[in-house]
C-alpha cells in the first residue's frame, strides 16, 4: 500500500481550504477560491507528470443547430491566444519533450499534457492562458473546419459500423441531445463559424466550470501553490449557465432499424436499452447494472458466451456493454455476431431466449464472486496506471459525481446482491425502451449501379 501524508506544516499553510486525502489511491483534492476543483493523484515511481483540465461541457450542451461545436472549439484551442502564436502551444510542449492532446465527449471536453515533472508550471501557464485568451482568425476557422470534416470522414463516414452506431443512438434518444453525434451531423458541421465557436467558449470556458487533474511525480502542496498562481487569478464566470438538459419522456415503443451497406462482410445484431446512470450518492442501481453486464457478457465464462458460443454455437462473438459514467440516462446494450449460416433473426431470437432463461435461472453465485474478486484485484492493478486513475476522476466529476462517489464505487459494487441484479434487470430492460438494429450487407436487388 502506498500512503501519502502531508506534513502538518504543509496543511497549515493552506489556511482556509480543506484538503481531503484518500490514502488508498494517493489522491488529494481541493478547490480554488474561484471555484476550480483540483484533484492530485501521486505516483513517484517516474519523474513524469500529466496535467489535465476538464471542462463540464460537452456536445450534449451545444445550442440547437450547432452540433459539433464543442469538438470544433477543442481543435481551435490549439490556435493563437493573446500570448501565443497559432500552434505554439503544442510546439512548446514538444520542445519540452512532452506530448499533448485533447478530447471531447457528450458531457466533457478535456485537454492534457504528459511531460517531465519539472515542467508542470509551464504547462499550467499555457493551459490557464488558453482558458480565457484565445484569438481566432477566419483562416483558422476555415482550415480547421476542413480538418474536422476529414475527421468525420475518417472516424464515421468510412465505417459502416460507426454510421450504424450513430443511427442506433439517434433512435435511442427521443428528446435528449445524446441522440446527436459528438462530432456533429455533417450538414451542421459545415455551417459552424467564428461566432458559434466564440459564443460557446465565452459561455463555458471558466475556472468555475473546470477541473484540474494532475497526476504523477508531484507534491500536492506544490500543485496547490502553482494552481493558485496560474488558475487562481482567473475570475469565475458569474453567468455560467446551469446544465439544463431536456430529459427523455417515458419510452413506450420498441424501435427497429435495418442498415444495409455493401462494405459489410460480417453482419450483426445490436440491442440497446435506455438505462439509468451513476448518480451522486445513488450508485446502487448502476452498480447492479454493471455486474449484470459482466455476468451476461464478461468474456468466455459469461452467460451469453456459454449459451450462444459454446452450447448452441449460433454466435462467433457476444458482448454486453454498460457505461454508468454519464450525466444523464445512458444505455445498456447487447451485441451478437452470428455464426456463418445463422440469420440475424435467428441470432436475435437466441439472444431473447437466452436472456429470458437467465432471469429464470438467477445469478450464479460463484460467477458473481469471481467477478467481484477481479474487481478487487483491478484496484491493485489500477495503481500501476496513475493516469488511468486521473481519468476516472475527470470523467466522474464532469458527469455529476463527487470525489466521494468515485471513492465509494468499489464498495458499492462489492455490496450488490444477486436479488438486486435480477430486480434491476427486470425493471430496466423492457421492450419499450429498446432499439434493435441489424447491420447487414446490401441485398443484390438493392445494389446501386455506379
Amino acid at each position: 500500500m502506498i500512503h501519502r501524508f502531508l506534513t502538518a506544516g504543509a496543511v497549515a499553510l493552506m489556511a482556509g481550504t480543506a484538503m481531503a486525502q484518500s490514502d488508498g489511491e494517493m489522491v488529494t483534492t481541493f478547490t480554488l477560491s474561484n471555484g476550480m476543483d483540483v484533484v492530485v493523484v501521486e505516483d513517484h515511481r517516474a519523474p513524469v507528470v500529466q496535467q489535465m483540465v476538464w471542462y463540464r461541457i460537452g456536445s450534449a450542451d451545444e445550442p440547437v443547430g450547432q452540433s459539433g461545436v464543442a469538438h470544433f472549439l477543442e481543435h481551435l484551442l490549439f490556435k493563437a491566444t493573446d500570448n501565443m502564436e497559432s500552434g505554439e502551444f503544442s510546439a512548446t510542449v514538444a520542445a519540452n519533450g512532452g506530448q499533448d492532446n485533447a478530447f471531447t465527449s457528450f458531457d466533457y471536453t478535456a485537454y492534457f499534457q504528459r511531460v517531465a515533472a519539472d515542467r508542470l508550471e509551464l504547462m499550467m501557464q499555457m493551459e490557464s492562458d488558453r482558458m480565457v485568451n484565445i484569438r481566432l482568425t477566419e483562416d483558422d476557422i476555415a482550415t480547421e473546419r476542413e480538418v474536422i470534416l476529414e475527421e468525420r470522414n475518417q472516424r464515421t463516414d468510412s465505417s459502416p459500423q460507426a454510421l450504424f452506431r450513430e443511427q442506433m443512438h439517434a433512435a435511442q434518444y427521443l428528446n435528449h441531445r445524446y441522440g446527436v453525434p459528438i462530432i456533429g451531423w455533417r450538414h451542421e458541421m459545415e455551417t459552424l463559424d467564428m461566432e458559434d465557436a466564440l459564443s460557446f467558449y465565452e459561455t463555458y470556458y471558466a475556472p468555475n466550470n473546470a477541473i484540474l487533474v494532475v497526476s504523477g511525480d508531484v507534491d500536492p502542496a506544490e500543485v496547490k501553490q502553482l494552481a493558485e498562481t496560474h488558475y487562481g487569478g482567473i475570475p469565475a464566470n458569474p453567468d455560467l449557465p446551469d446544465r439544463l438538459r431536456t430529459s427523455e419522456p417515458p419510452q413506450t415503443t420498441a424501435r427497429r432499424l435495418v442498415m444495409q451497406d455493401e462494405r459489410i462482410a460480417q453482419p450483426y445484431v445490436q440491442r440497446s436499452y435506455l438505462a439509468p446512470e451513476r448518480d451522486a450518492g445513488d450508485q446502487e442501481t448502476a452498480a447492479a447494472l454493471y455486474l449484470l453486464s459482466e455476468l451476461l457478457g464478461g468474456g468466455t465464462t459469461s452467460y451469453l458466451a456459454n449459451a450462444l458460443q459454446f452450447d448452441q454455437q449460433v454466435a462467433v462473438y457476444t458482448g454486453v456493454f454498460y457505461n454508468g459514467l454519464s450525466l444523464d440516462d445512458t444505455t445498456f446494450s447487447f451485441l451478437v455476431v452470428p455464426s456463418e449460416g445463422v440469420t440475424l433473426e435467428e441470432a436475435e431470437a437466441a439472444l431473447d431466449a437466452t436472456y429470458a432463461r437467465f432471469l429464470e435461472d438467477g445469478v450464479d453465485a460463484e460467477q458473481l464472486e469471481r467477478i467481484k474478486l477481479q474487481l478487487r484485484a483491478s484496484e491493485i492493478y489500477a495503481r500501476d496506471n496513475v493516469d488511468g486513475i486521473a481519468n476516472r476522476y475527470g470523467r466522474a466529476l464532469t458527469s455529476g459525481l463527487t470525489i466521494e462517489d468515485v471513492q465509494a464505487w468499489p464498495d458499492v459494487l462489492q455490496a450488490v446482491t444477486p436479488e438486486q441484479i435480477i430486480a434491476v434487470a427486470k425493471e430496466v430492460l423492457h421492450p419499450g425502451a429498446s432499439v434493435t438494429g441489424y447491420l447487414m450487407k446490401e441485398t443484390p436487388a438493392e445494389e446501386i449501379t455506379q
Partner: protein, 440 residues
Amino acid sequence: MKALKLITAALTAWVLAGPAMAEVEIQEVTSPGGITAWLVEEPSIPFTALELRFRGGTSLDAADKRGAIYLMSGLLEEGSGEMGAQDYARALEGLAASFSYDASKDTLSISARFLSENRDEAMALLHQTLHAPRFDQDALDRVRAQVLSGLRSDEKDPNDIAGKAFNAMAFGDHPYGSSGKGTIDSVGALTRQDMFEAHEAVFARDRLYVGAVGDITPEELGALLDGLLLDLPETGAAIPGPAVVTISGGNSVIDFPTPQSVAIFAQAGIDRDDPDFFAAYIMNQILGGGSFESRLMTEVREKRGLTYGIGSYLVPRDLAAVYMGSVASANGKIAEAVEVIRAEWQRMADEGVTAQELQDAKTYLTGAYPLRFDGNGQIASILAGMQMQALPIDYIATRNDKVNAVTLEEVNAFAAKFMAPEDLHFTIVGRPEGIEATSN
C-alpha cells in the same frame, strides 16, 4: 511570448543534464537452469508483469499453413491440461491474473500479469498453458470461425486492403508478403495436428527473451523461470532469411466504395543496427513523426486541411526494413495530399533539415523518452524488446546521448542518400479523383 521561451530554454538545459532515467534499474538475472531475463524490481504494488517473447512469430508458418501460428496463439486460452476452455477461463478469473498473446510478423509474445498473493498458482496455470495445450476440435472450430469472421471484415476495410496490397507488392512470396492471419482458404483447411506443429515451431528456448517488472526478487524470478520454461525444447522451426524489398515509384489504386481514400506511401527503409539509424530516426521525426510539429502534419493538415491524420514511420523488422507513412483524405482531396507528400519527400532529399528543426527534434525525442516507461507491463515489454534488438543493458542511460550526438551534417547527408522520391510508391484505396494508377 518571449518570457515563456526563456523559461523553456532554461528548464530544458537543466533536465538534459538531470538524472531523469535513473529510476529504471535493470538487473540481468540468470536462473539456476541458465535462462536469462532482465528485471526491474518494483515492490510498491503487489503484482508482477512478465513478458515472454519468442522470435519468429507468424513468419514461422509452414509454407501451406498460413495462419496456423496466429490461430494457435488464439487457442492457448481455450483449455489445457485437464481443463476445457471454460474451466480454464474460470481458473484464470479465480486468480485475477491475465495472460495475453500476440502473434506478429517477428514475434509471438505472452504478456502476463499476476498478483503476489497467488503467484505460484498463476505460474502453474501458465506452465500448463504453455506445455499442455489441448487444441480440442470444438475449440479449434469455434476460434477458427472468429478468425474467419475477422478475415471477411478485413476484406472490406480500406486500411487492411491497402496494407495487404502493399505487402504483396513489396515482399512478394516472403512471409512478410502476406498476412499472418492467413487467408479464408488457408485457415479453413487448418487441422488440430497443424496446431501442435505450430506450437512446436514457435516455443523454444533458443529464441526466448524475458522481461519482468514488479514485486519479485531476482532469486524468486530465477526459480519462477526455471519452473515455467526449462522444459521447453531447445530449438524450434528455422527462421526464414531476409526478404527482398521491391518498391518502385508510382501509384496503385484499388477501387473501393468509400467517401475518403486511404493511402500508404513507402520506400525502402533502414535496419535498426545501421550506424545511420539515429540520423534516420531524427529525420523521420522532423518529416512525419508522431507530434503535431512534423512537416507532413503542418503542410497537409494545418495549412491545407486535407486530412485529420498523417504520419510516417521507420519500420525496421527482423527480415526487412521499409520507410512508410499513411494518410486518409476525401476522394476529391487525396490527389492534392499526394502531391504535397511527394513535394515534402523531394524537399527532404534536396534540402535536408534546418539546425532549428534538428534542435527541436532532439529536445522532443530526448524529453519524450522517459514518458514511455509508464507502468510495469509497459516496462517489461520494453525490456524484452531491448534484448531482441541486442541492445546493451545500459542502453536506457545512453540512448539520449546517442540522439544528441547526431550532427546536422549527418542528418542531411543521410537524407540526401536515403530519401528516394522517385521510388516513393502510393497504394491508394477508395475512389480518388485525379489519380491514375501506374503500372508497376
